[in-house]
Structures are given as structure tokens and as C-alpha cells.
Assembly symmetry: C2
Homo-oligomer: 288 residues x 2
């Protein structure tokens, strides 16, 4: 994961070159929230799913970087005072705390737009029909039927009790959809068989749910310096999380079960899927 993170940082540095120009702090604001930080889980998943099918690394890296740009944009907008109002992200002040709300809104917009530009650059080595398919799937997973839809439910549900099935639906959209696309990127790049895509979709669903529960568990039990953002906010805000709905022990059981399901869904793959198996168990090992 550290290797992927370093490669992504390098790509982002190329896509967002630092320079003084009339746009003032705009580029600084994008760079601040994109470069140097985060586990880069989604890019890692994209790189590994591409590896299963021996996709050229430059192609995988392009898609992985686009996915991370979308993830970073969502964090910048999510942290805004009008949204979750967070002060800390990835161990440093949130974007709007440094650059103000207006530039944070524009930085988010810029990161999102850059993802689609990057994915459709003519020099990536990815065939045009694959570029278009990737763009279509990325936009769907990030859009109103995916991530944005999940965030909208999240915002409107605050301070309201929510049924377990609704919380799962919310998480599937908010976090699951983009993780799903990251895992789908490999088979799309390789025009792989439907059987492989279905197996990997099963993996992504289980991993996405496990990841969200683990994130919520860390919010409840974790250490702020360790996690890099303000904790215990969700609990205080009475937010609809699976941990709040199930209680810590049952939530941990569910995360364990989903982790096993993720590993199991890869049984059709050989040793080339080892890191996808390990990342699932690694994420679970972060809970206490």
C-alpha cells in the first residue's frame, strides 16, 4: 500500500504541477487535499484488480489516480461547514480551514473535473472505448445513484433513527460504490469475463461494508492521532452508523463475517490475488 501511495503521489504531482500564476491559491488548494495523505485504499484496490489481469501498470495507475481524485474531492466537500463541518483530515487542518470555504468548494470541483480529464487523456495507452466505459462507470459510482446519493441520505438522516437496512443502503452508496468501481477497474481495463467481474463485485461489496464498519469502529474506539481526523463526532451527532445501530460487539462480528466473505469470493483466483485477500484481513486487524 505504501508503494501504491507513493506512485499515486507522484502521478498527482504531475497532474497538478505547482506553479505561480494568476489563479492564485487554487492549485495550492487542490494539491493540499490531494497529495501526501490517506491510505490510498481505492487506488490500491484498482492497481491490484488490474494486476489480476496483467493490465499494463501505467494504465492501471491512470485509473487509480482518477479514482483518488474523486475520493479527495468528496472529502473536501464533505468537510465543509455546510456539510459535516470537520476541522481535521488526514492529520492536518481541512481544506476550508486553510483556504476558506470558496476555494475549498472550487478545489473539490476541480479535483472531480480533473479525474474525468485524466481518464480521457489521449496519451494513457488505454483504448478510447475502454476510456469511455471507465468514465461512464466512474461517473455512475460517484454520482447521484452512488456516492452523492449516499451523502444526501446521510445529511438528511442526521438526528433521525434509521433502520439497519437503510444504513446498509446508505453505506453501499456513500462508500461502497466508489470502492466497487476501483475493484471493477481491472476487469474493465482487461475486458475480462463476466464471471471474473461478478466474483470481484462480490469481493468489493463485502470489503466495502467491512471497511465502513471498521471506520465506524475506529471512530468509536480509535485514537485521533492514529486515525488523523476528529473522532467520536458521529456518535455525538447521533449519526446513522452500523456501530450505533448494532452495538460494538455485533458490529465487529459483522465486519469479521464480511472480511471472510471478501476473502472467500476470491477463491477462483490464484496467488496474484494474495494482496487483495491480505488487504481485507489487514483492515480488520486495525480494530481493537
Amino acid at each position: 500500500m505504501a508503494e501504491t501511495a507513493a506512485a499515486i503521489d507522484q502521478e498527482l504531482g504531475k497532474v497538478l504541477p505547482e506553479k505561480e500564476d494568476r489563479r492564485g491559491k487554487l492549485i495550492k488548494s487542490l494539491r493540499y487535499s490531494a497529495i501526501g495523505g490517506g491510505k490510498r485504499l481505492r487506488p490500491f484496490l484498482a492497481m491490484q484488480s488490474a494486476r489480476l489481469f496483467s493490465v499494463p501498470q501505467t494504465q492501471a495507475l491512470c485509473v487509480a489516480t482518477a479514482i483518488e481524485l474523486v475520493h479527495c474531492y468528496s472529502l473536501v466537500h464533505d468537510d465543509l461547514p455546510a456539510m459535516d463541518d470537520d476541522d481535521q483530515r488526514r492529520g492536518k487542518p481541512t481544506n476550508h480551514k486553510i483556504f476558506g470555504d470558496a476555494l475549498a468548494i472550487l478545489a473539490g470541483d476541480g479535483l472531480l473535473t480533473m479525474a474525468f480529464e485524466l481518464l480521457n487523456r489521449p496519451d494513457t495507452g488505454i483504448q478510447p472505448e475502454i476510456r469511455s466505459e471507465l468514465t461512464f462507470e466512474l461517473a455512475k459510482s460517484a454520482g447521484i445513484c452512488g456516492m452523492i446519493g449516499g451523502q444526501a441520505i446521510d445529511i438528511q438522516a442526521q438526528h433521525q433513527p434509521m433502520a439497519l437496512s437503510n444504513i446498509e443502503y446508505l453505506q453501499a452508496l456513500k462508500t461502497g460504490a466508489l470502492i466497487g468501481f476501483a475493484v471493477d477497474a481491472g476487469p474493465i481495463l482487461a475486458s475480462a469475463s463476466k464471471r471474473h467481474r461478478i466474483a470481484l463485485a462480490r469481493y468489493a461489496n463485502a470489503l466495502g461494508l467491512a471497511y465502513q464498519i471498521i471506520d465506524d469502529l475506529l471512530d468509536t474506539e480509535g485514537d485521533e492521532t492514529d486515525v488523523g481526523k476528529q473522532l467520536r463526532k458521529d456518535n455525538n451527532a447521533g449519526k446513522a452508523t452500523l456501530v450505533n445501530a448494532l452495538g460494538v460487539e455485533r458490529a465487529k462480528d459483522k465486519a469479521r463475517q464480511m472480511t471472510e466473505e471478501a476473502v472467500l469470493s476470491l477463491k477462483g483466483f490464484g496467488p496474484e490475488a494474495q494482496l487483495l485477500r491480505e488487504v481485507a484481513t489487514f483492515l480488520f486487524s486495525r480494530t481493537h
Copy 2:
């Protein structure tokens, strides 16, 4: 233009079908700011530039709708309290006044993302390599080297005097880039000759600048009910507009000159370019 506007509304209605679901008011918020309103100038330009090359209308309509989605998103974010803080848009309250800041941010994000999804739908009849080229060019014109870059300069320049050349640069990014893409859409869809693309780029540059000056003139001289948004804000905020920099009369001269330049740049085209010529003179006729 009214015909195009009606067709765009119909397309947007299909892309954003009204329905009750767990996402609450999200779809309502997108529909509120996308459907029914605005002159639809950019879609009109895209439809007419496609007509020059006999591009099938369904293909042109797809791109025109994607451009309008991008334009609508930019208005929603631009109107936010953290940005321009506007209360009125297209003759009705701005999105955040109705749905709150959080849903307005998400609606903007959703409209932008939907543009890229729409453009890459497999059922549009547009060839994949053209879809990818359109996506690349749309993302560039909307991104940090285009519209977002212009907005960033605009925000940071408030209450600061700005040189005329800088104001022109700001406008070229903020309004010019997306208008430029709209006019470029036709030749891209038709894989037209470089000569045609250059002539149309000249048209778009002149029209874009004329349009911005006319918009600023209407802000200074216009009637609020007529224009559909709060006026005289730019002047009060000491904003860097060409009208503030040149004065009303010289600005009007410049707009006239750019209108003539736009018409002149189409001399290589026949009667099929008549509406592109007329829209330039129509826009100018709106000034007093």
C-alpha cells in the same frame, strides 16, 4: 433558441426522472436548478455548430445537454453564500435558498458528474473515441485551466483593482472556455477539418467576450425582472468587470466590435451558419 430550450428541458427530464426514494430531496434539488430556465445559449451553440456538419440531432442533443448540466452546476455553486451569495437566479430563489447549502453543494456535484455520465452512455450513437475526446475537452474547459480557474481568479480578485488584460483573461476562462467547447462540439462530433475548427474557435472567442460584456452591461443597466437575477451586485462589490474597467460606452463599443468579429469569422460557412450569426447580433441587441 426556444426550440432548443424545450428540447434540452425534455432531455434533462429524462436524465433526472422525478421519483420518491430514500435520497429525499436530492433529485428535486438537481431538477430545480437544471430544468426550466435560462436562455440555454450554450446548448444552442452546440446544436448549431453540429448542424453545420450535419451531425445527427440525437448526438448533438446529448452533448448540448451535458454542457448545460455543467453550466447549471457552476451556477448552483457560484450562488452559494461562501461564493457570490446570490438569492435569485433565473427568476426564482437560488438552490441553497430552497434546499439549504449542503444539498446545493451536492446538487452541483451531482449535475457535474451527470454531465460526464451522460456523455459516455453507450446508447448515444456517438462513437467511443469521439465520446472520449468530447469528455476530455469538456473536462478541460470546465476545469482548473478553464471555468474553475476563472472563478478562482474572480473570487480572489474581489475588492482589488485589476488590469484590463487580466479581466479579459479571467472572462476567457470563466465564461469563454465552456462557450468555446459548445461551439467546438460540432466539429468534434463530425471529425471536421482543422480549418473549420479554427474558424469556429475564432467565432467562439469573439462571441464569448461579447456575451460577457453584454452580461455586465445588463447588470449595470438592466431590469431585474427581465434578467432574472439580482443586479448591480458586481458594481457594488467593486468587481473586476470589463464594464467597470472601460466604462459603459467603451464597453458597448467593444461588445459591438466583438459581435462583428464573430459574424465575420463565419464567412467560410454558408446559410447553415445563419443562426450562429444571428445569435451574436441578437445578444448585442439586448443592450440598451
